[in-house]
Symmetry: C3
Subunit: 354 residues, 3 copies
C-alpha cells in the first residue's frame, strides 16, 4: 500500500487517486472512484446515512528532521495522506505517536468534540509514544429561516499538528505534520488526479525548487488541486494556463453562478481551498509552472512544475527541455534555510528520534 | 445603559445583543430584536421607508493611552459600540471629541457626502474639543441591465478614526478608535449573541492573551461574529469547531449557493466580514479557541476563548480547566509591545488628556 | 492615437475608454462601445463565433529607468494599455522588444500554448531587440456533469513581463511592465470610464502620493476599476464612498446573488479583480480617496484621488481645495525609495537603453 501512502511526496511523479478510499473500501457511495479513469464520475444526489470509517495514522520521524503522518508504519509522508469523506460520514482516527515529542491531529471544517480538538488548550494531544483516538463527524446543510441553509461540512479542508513545539503546533508545522482533508457533497465530480500543494513558510511541501513536487497528468484528465497555507508569511498561488471558479468546487455551479474565475489566489496560514481543472484544456499539453506570485518567493524557490503529458502519456515537445532547464536551477540558499528552520525546531525540543 | 456600552470589552463575558437598537427604540422593523432569545427571529421581506436615527458618540480617553468611542459620557469602549441599521435607514451621528487631539469617524459601506467623509483630505474631522455631525445614509440594491443589480448597503462593515496622528488615522487605530457597523437587509436572520473581533496589529481588540476577550454563548444560540482588520500586518482568523459560508451572511442563501464553506479567513487592514454560527452545533459545548492562524501571531498572543456553555448556562465538563490553563499563559512581551505602541503614539502627539 | 496609448498614465487625468477597441475596430459585438456615453450599453447574450484581432505591442524604455508596454512606437505607458476581448476571441500579439534586456509578455486567465507562455521556463520570451508573436485565445464556459460548467475565460485579468531580471520577471515588474486584460462575457455591462490601479510594491502605478493617478469621472457615469497586485508586499484596496459586489463583475448578478458587498479588498501579488460603480451614486460628487488600507502604506504614499465632478463636468464645491491640500503633501522618502528600486534593478542588469 506504499503507493497510497506517498501522496505528493518525492517518490513518484504520478498520483493514482486511490488514497484512503481504496485502502478502506467502505466510505459511502464511492465505489466508482476506485479505478482511475478519464471519464467524469459523479455520485447520486441522494445520500444514504453516513458511514463510519476507522483508520490508524502513524506520526513518525522522517529524514532531515521532518515529522509526517502516514497510514502504515514506515509510510509517513510530507504532506500526509489525503483523507476523504462524504457529508454525513464519520472518521475515527487512531493516532499513534511514534516520536519523542507530544503532537496531535487537528482538523479544519469537520465536527469534533473538545476531546478530539487536537489542541493542548483542551488537553487533546498525544504524549510521546502515546496512542489516542480522534473522532471527526460531518453533516449536510440544514434548512433554516427564509430558504437559507446553515452550512454543512462539504469543502476542501485540512488537518495538522497543534501541539508539537507549542500550543499552536508551530514546530509540527515546520517539520511537515500537515495534510489535506476533503469532505464531498453527494453529486460532486470526482477527479482522475489529485495534488496537495502546501505553501509552508518559504517552501512548497517542505521543498524548494528544483526539488518541489512535479505534478503530472495526461491531457484531458480531471485534476483536483488542494492548496493549503501554513506558517508566518502571506502567499499567492498561481497556476499557468489553467483557471477555476473561486467558490467551493472550482466549477461554476449554475449558469448564474456569479463567482469570479481566477488563476491566482491568496494562500495564507490556516487557509485551504480546492478546485478541479481539465489538464491542458484549451491550451494543450506541456510543462506548466505553478508558483507563489510574491516575487521574492518565486525567485527564492517557491515554484514547481505541472506536467501535462499527451493524452496517451507520452511527453509533448519541449516539455523535457523545460523540466531539464528547471532542474538545473539551484536555490541552495533557500533549501538550506528551510533545513536550518527544521533543525532549529528539533534542537529546541530535544530531537525527535523514535 | 452601561451594559449596552460595553461591547466585547473586558467588563463582561456575556454580550446582550441590544446595543444601539434598544437605546434608540426606533430603527425600522426591529422591535422583535430587543429581547434576547434563542429562537430565530427574522424581519419581513418588504420594507417600510427607511428610518432616521440620531445618536451621540463620545470619543474619550481610556486607560493605557487608549481612545475609544462610546454612546454615553464615560462609556467609551474598545472596540466601540456595534452600530446597526437596515438598508434605507439614516444614522445621524453627533461626534463629541472630548480629547485634545483631532479625530474623526469614518465608515465603510454606507453613503456619506464629502463633509461626512471623516477624512482630513476633505476637511471632515473634529478638532480637539469640537463637536461635529456626520450623516450616514444607506440604500437597497437597484435593478440595472440584464437582471443585475447595483449593490445596496447591506453588509458587515465598520467605522474608525481617520484623523488622529495622521491623515489616515494611524494613531487613532493603534489606540482603539474602531468599531463594527452592520447594515441589514429586510429578512436577515437576527442573532442571539454578537461579538466584535478586531485584529489590530498584533492584538485582538487591543489585548493579547490571556487578556483577549472571552466570548460566551449557550449551546444552540445564534452567534454573530463581526471580524475587522486594522494596522500593518496580514492575519487569518480561525475559529475552532464552527464553520460558515464565505458570503455576505455566513448562511448558504439557497440550495445552489456556490460559496465555499470555511473556518479560516484572511483578515487584513480595512477589511471586515461577518457570519453567524449556531454555538456548539454538531460539536457540543466546550471552551473553543479562536485565533490568528499566522504561527508567530498565535504564539505571540493573538488567541482567545469562545466559551459555549450548556444550553442551561452551566459550565460543561473540562471548560473551566481549559480556561484556567489558558489564563495561566503569559504573553508579557507581547502585551508590553502593544502598550509601547500606544505610548509612542501618545507621546508623538503631545498626550491625550480630556 | 496617443490618447489611446496613455492609460492611467500621467499625461491626462481623464480617461476616454476607447483603448484597443477603437484602434482595431474589429473585436466582436463592441461597436457600441466606441463612443463615450453615460447610458448603459450591453451586448446581446448570444455570441457569434469569436473574432481574431492582431496587434503590435512595443516594449520600450521610459524615463526614470522604467520600461512599459505601448500600442505605438514611443507610446509606452505604465501601466500598459487595457486589452479587451470577448470570450471566444483570439488576440495575436506581436511583441517588439526595443530594449537591451530580455523580456516577455505573460497573461493571466486566457488560453495560451507553451510557446506563448511568456516564461523563460518554456523558452518563451524576446531577446534584446527581438520581435516575437504571442497568441491568446479564450473560450466560453462549457457544460459538464450535473448542471455545472467548466469556467470560461471571462474576467478581469492582467498581463506582465515574466523574463526581465529573472525567470519570474521581477525586474520587469519593478520597472512597469504590467497592464490590465479584460475578457468580457456577452451581455456584460460596458463602462463609461475605465481605470487601472496597480499596487506594485509600495507604489500605485509606480507612483507615490501626491503623484499617484487622479481618476476622474462625472456624477452618474459608470466607472470600471481594474485592480492588480505585484511585488513583495500584501495590500488592501479601499475606495471611499463607493461599494461593489465581491464577484466577477461587481454587480449582484441576481436577486439571490449571495456575494458579500465590500469597499475594501485584498490586492496581493499576481491577483486581479474588477468592478463597476456609478460615480457618486447615493453620495454625490466630490474628491474621494482611494488607498491601500495598510496604515504604513497609506501613510507612506499609497493613496490617490478619485474625482467625481458634477454631471456637467464642473468642479463640485470643496473638491479643488481637497486636491490642492493633497498635492501639497510630500512623500519624498517614499518616491526616492521607489526610484532607488528601479535604479538598482537597472544597474544589476546593465542598463536598458534602446
Amino acid at each position: 500500500m506504499t503507493d497510497d501512502n506517498v501522496v505528493n511526496g518525492e517518490r513518484q511523479a504520478h498520483l493514482p487517486r486511490r488514497n484512503l478510499l481504496a485502502a478502506a473500501g467502505v466510505l459511502g457511495l464511492t465505489a466508482g472512484a476506485v479505478t482511475v479513469a478519464t471519464t467524469t464520475r459523479s455520485e447520486p444526489a441522494r445520500a444514504a446515512a453516513g458511514v463510519t470509517k476507522k483508520i490508524t495514522i502513524y506520526a513518525e520521524a522522517l529524514p532531515n528532521n521532518q515529522v509526517g503522518y502516514g497510514l502504515t508504519p514506515g509510510g509517513a509522508t510530507v504532506p500526509g495522506p489525503v483523507l476523504e469523506m462524504y457529508e454525513g460520514d464519520t472518521l475515527e482516527i487512531t493516532l499513534v505517536n511514534t516520536t519523542n515529542q507530544r503532537l496531535s491531529i487537528h482538523p479544519h471544517g469537520v465536527d469534533y468534540s473538545t476531546d478530539s480538538d487536537g489542541a493542548p488548550f483542551n488537553g487533546s494531544f498525544n504524549n510521546p509514544g502515546e496512542t489516542r483516538k480522534y473522532i471527526w463527524r460531518s453533516h449536510e446543510m440544514t434548512a433554516t429561516t427564509g430558504r437559507r441553509f446553515t452550512p454543512g461540512s462539504a469543502g476542501y479542508w485540512h488537518y495538522h499538528d497543534h501541539a508539537l513545539g507549542g500550543d499552536h503546533g508551530t514546530g509540527g508545522l515546520i517539520r511537515g505534520l500537515y495534510g489535506a482533508l476533503i469532505v464531498r457533497r453527494r453529486g460532486d465530480i470526482l477527479p482522475d488526479k489529485q495534488f496537495t500543494v502546501v505553501f509552508n513558510d518559504m517552501t512548497i511541501n517542505n521543498k524548494v525548487a528544483p526539488n518541489t513536487p512535479m505534478f503530472e497528468a495526461n491531457l484531458g484528465e480531471k485534476v483536483e488541486w488542494i492548496a493549503i497555507g501554513h506558517g508566518n508569511f502571506f502567499h499567492t498561488f498561481h497556476l499557468h494556463a489553467h483557471r477555476w471558479a473561486d467558490n467551493r468546487t472550482g466549477y461554476l455551479e449554475s449558469l448564474t453562478d456569479p463567482s469570479q474565475v481566477i488563476d491566482n489566489k491568496d494562500l495564507n496560514p490556516g487557509n485551504a481551498f480546492g478546485f478541479q481543472v481539465i489538464a491542458g484544456e484549451a491550451v494543450g499539453p506541456g510543462a506548466w509552472m505553478y508558483h507563489c506570485h510574491v516575487q521574492g518567493h518565486s525567485d527564492g524557490g517557491m515554484a514547481g512544475v505541472f506536467l501535462v503529458r499527451n493524452a496517451d502519456g507520452t511527453m509533448p515537445p519541449g516539455a523535457q527541455e523545460a523540466i531539464d532547464r528547471f532542474q538545473g536551477h539551484q536555490h541552495a540558499a533557500a533549501q538550506k534555510a528551510a533545513q536550518n528552520a527544521q533543525n532549529a525546531e528539533t534542537h529546541a525540543h530535544g530531537g525527535t528520534g523514535s
